[in-house]
Symmetry: C2
Subunit: 194 residues, 2 copies
């Protein structure tokens, strides 16, 4: 491996982290390398820097492309393929979440919906179905939230995340401001909330 020490540390770490996800070490390393690189790299560049075989790099790049995590580019007068990650890290996050949803959540939801249609043949199955229903509803809530938030532009998304749970406070404020006339919200209700 032929990399500046600082880069190498990061690349090795992401190789290991990749293993903890479904992603293999080389793919993790390729991605990390591209992420840190100023200019796009071609396959041969990657081979030299990571010290793995050409075919391995080819497969790794193919996988990263399947995940929409790298962009293929070309230089004029050079017919090799160059690869880069998006400059905007938020775009990376969006892609990652989107792809994991597509591969993990969506199929699970299909399966849950299907199984929930069936008639339980025993109390045991009835209970199992209830549990699956809980999971289904949870995923629905989370994906609904995601679908909603995902549409925000980055600036607003950051705003929202920075707020965190302080949103609650604003909500409560809103509730106080727009009391339905006649509901006569009792100020002492606050005590209960504590």
């Amino acid at each position: 491996m032929n990399l500046p020490p600082l880069v190498q540390t990061f690349v090795l770490h992401f190789g290991e982290m990749g293993s903890r996800w479904g992603i293999n070490r080389t793919v993790g390393q390729i991605y990390a390398l591209l992420y840190l690189s100023k200019a796009p790299l071609n396959a041969e560049d990657i081979v030299e820097r990571l010290g793995v075989s050409r075919s391995n790099v080819s497969m790794g790049l193919k996988e990263l492309q399947a995940w929409n995590l790298v962009r293929l580019q070309h230089k004029p007068g050079d017919r090799r393929d160059y690869f880069a990650t998006p400059d905007d890290i938020w775009q990376i996050v969006r892609t990652l979440v989107e792809e994991r949803k597509k591969r993990e959540i969506d199929p699970t939801m299909s399966l849950l919906r299907e199984v929930l249609m069936q008639e339980p043949a025993s109390p045991e199955e009835r209970h199992a179905q209830e549990r699956m229903r809980e999971m289904h509803d949870l995923f629905e809530l989370l994906t609904g939230w995601y679908a909603d938030v995902q549409r925000l532009d980055t600036e607003r998304l950051v705003q929202l995340l920075t707020l965190g749970s302080k949103v609650q406070k604003i909500l409560e404020m809103k509730d106080r401001l727009f009391v339905v006339p006649g509901s006569k919200k009792n100020p002492r209700d606050d005590v209960k909330d504590k």
Copy 2:
């Protein structure tokens, strides 16, 4: 494998999904089984239902315990260990997120902080460091949001998630209500935002 069809479908699916995470098939299956089960199960129960070796189950349970994903219980007059998942699915989510953070995000943040302290020895390293800084800041924002939200009780958390990005609307409303006196916000600013 000796399971009601409906349960088996789910268990097999989670075995496969487990593989896509760092978790191996058997561990995924054990967890799925416990999740669906009404009563706690002992190791021998799991062996019978999944048709894997006793030692494999032992290791799998150990791993699930290390993840805090299962609770160990005992029945009076029975010295075998019984295992169950929390009844509250939100508790499960919280544990999962917490543990993944501990294993993946926290070590990555340490590494990033460490590498960011070093002096870049070349323009290449300087750029790499900038990229790492972006990642660091991103993670900081996300973990900050998480730390904040994680404290909410489940009811409020669900409220927040149900709202999704509608929070934005409320924020804008708040901004309009509490304009700093003298700032004279121009209504035409809205046009720019579009």
